[in-house]
Amino acid sequence: MNPILDPLAYQFFLRALLASVVAGTVCAVVGSYVVLKGLAFIGDAVAHAAFPGVVVAYLVGAPYAIGGGIAAFLTAISIGWISRRSHIRVDTAIGVVFAGAFALGVFLYSGIKGFVGDLFGFLVGDILAISAGDLIALLILSAIVLGTVAILWKELLYSTFDPLGAAASGLPVAALEYLFLGLVAITIVISLQAVGIILVVAMLVTPAATAQLMTVRLTRMIVLAAVIGATTSVAGLYLSYWLDVASGATIVLVQTATFIAALAVARTAGILRRQPTTTPG
């Protein structure tokens, strides 16, 4: 009996392993910008707003990824539009839109007669149930997201750090903002199956926040976040398999524990570093 190698004999476990590594990586890369832009709440909102899209896709027999993606993107755009065009603060706009969208999802979901276990899986995630077709879609979407981030590396960096300076130097900052919201929407669709709508914000934010504690360079932060995102996803998947508990929740708990450990280390290191200079004088 080998607890690490034995599960790899199952096709479904291999698919889940690959999906969790890829989703963990992509979430951490996009999540680094989400953290730096202060968009954690938007990430959560967009994830919840994907639910009505998933339900509608189920009702009409379309792929979940397309329904969820469209709903998530429309929500991200409308949040930006409302806060730009009215006197309503952006956090209020998020609260109104995401609660409304999620309610619409629950409304439609509760009206469906018969077995809807598939849909419930999208709320809390069920990565062991991922199909080969879903996995291929996930890999293609991941390539699109990572490719876009790589191509627009310097534009995203400049417009995130100093939007005014970037706009004045001719970068299309508003277009980049919408494009980034589109990337967030795709990323959420990628990770829906892994951790589900309710917990996906943790996949976005927690590895990136952990990495931010450990470095002051963006490149290193993104690489570290990706490594943390991928390894915690694998660790969480194994742990959930051994304990026979929900995979999404376990992955998120492993990430939370990593963050707390990094916070403790950073604080200790900070105290040690500060000690010599705290001598009075």
Binding site: L36, L157, F161, A167, A168, S169, R217, L218
Partner: protein, 262 residues
């Protein structure tokens, strides 16, 4: 030209020509619309009425030849970038999409860092710098872009005298090379001594002329209104030189210079 925010105009009937190669200070009290004027010139705000031409085109058309330095308060100082990273951003518009910075870009960055005296701090995270050093880095970013026009919002406000002098030396040098420098400032003494020309603004253009103009008490009282006090030959402006224009939405104000004085 008239421009503003929401339904409130910040500047009205502005009629201003800036000669190329000049070193112009835009002065006026808090809320006079100095920053708004600069943002219109940078193409960040559309004018409501009138026509604006920057380097022969509409604002923003020649963006890669313009370096705009916002008030220092508008960026997140905890952001994980080094001094060299920030200065390299000045090269991005010249590179266009897809291209990565090359050796020539790194040379421009190094030269700019040497000019502002920050070459020893190239790998430092920007949040660890003092207020004056941060300002030097942003001026270096503008220099690295090698622009035809500098638009600087309060470049010498709230920093130590040495940094003020150094930055003014650099801006003077750029103006001598034929580059146009437009800077807003609260510091009337600096405007009078270190700039060639001034534009006094209070929602409208009060006067434009040689820098010595700013010492004229009549002009000052028309620009600053009730904030002005004339004591004998001494003119005192009751305008807090270390207070910035009202913070826009999402802007944070830092006043670390006062605390960091060593």
């Amino acid at each position: 030209m008239t421009a503003g925010y929401g339904d409130r105009p910040a500047i009205e009937d502005i009629d201003l020509a800036v000669e190329s190669g000049s070193l112009l200070a835009v002065v006026g009290p808090n809320g006079a619309g100095k920053s708004t004027l600069l943002k219109v010139m940078a193409g960040l705000i559309e004018p409501w009425t009138g026509r604006v031409e920057i380097l022969g085109g509409a604002p923003g058309r020649e963006a890669h030849r313009v370096a705009y330095v916002p008030q220092a308060e508008t960026v997140d100082w905890a952001f994980p970038v080094s001094v060299a990273d920030v200065v390299m951003m000045g090269r991005y518009p010249l590179l266009g999409p897809l291209r990565r910075p090359g050796a020539a870009d790194r040379r421009h960055v190094d030269e700019a860092l040497v000019k502002v005296g920050m070459a020893d701090h190239r790998q430092t995270q920007i949040g660890r710098l003092s207020g004056g050093q941060r300002r030097r880095v942003f001026i270096a970013r503008a220099l690295a872009a090698d622009p035809a026009l500098y638009l600087l919002d309060e470049p010498v406000t709230g920093i130590d005298a040495t940094t003020q002098d150094d930055l003014m030396d650099i801006l003077e040098g750029e103006s001598r090379r034929g580059r146009t420098v437009v800077a807003t400032t609260h510091d009337l003494a600096a405007a009078a001594q270190r700039f060639e020309r001034v534009a006094a603004i209070n929602h409208r253009v009060i006067a434009v002329g040689p820098a010595s103009l700013i010492l004229d008490p009549d002009l000052l009282s028309r620009t600053y209104g009730g904030h002005l006090l004339v004591l004998g030959n001494q003119t005192v402006v009751l305008d807090d030189a270390h207070h910035h224009d009202q913070a826009g939405e999402g802007e944070t104000h830092y006043h670390e210079d006062a605390q960091r004085t060593r």
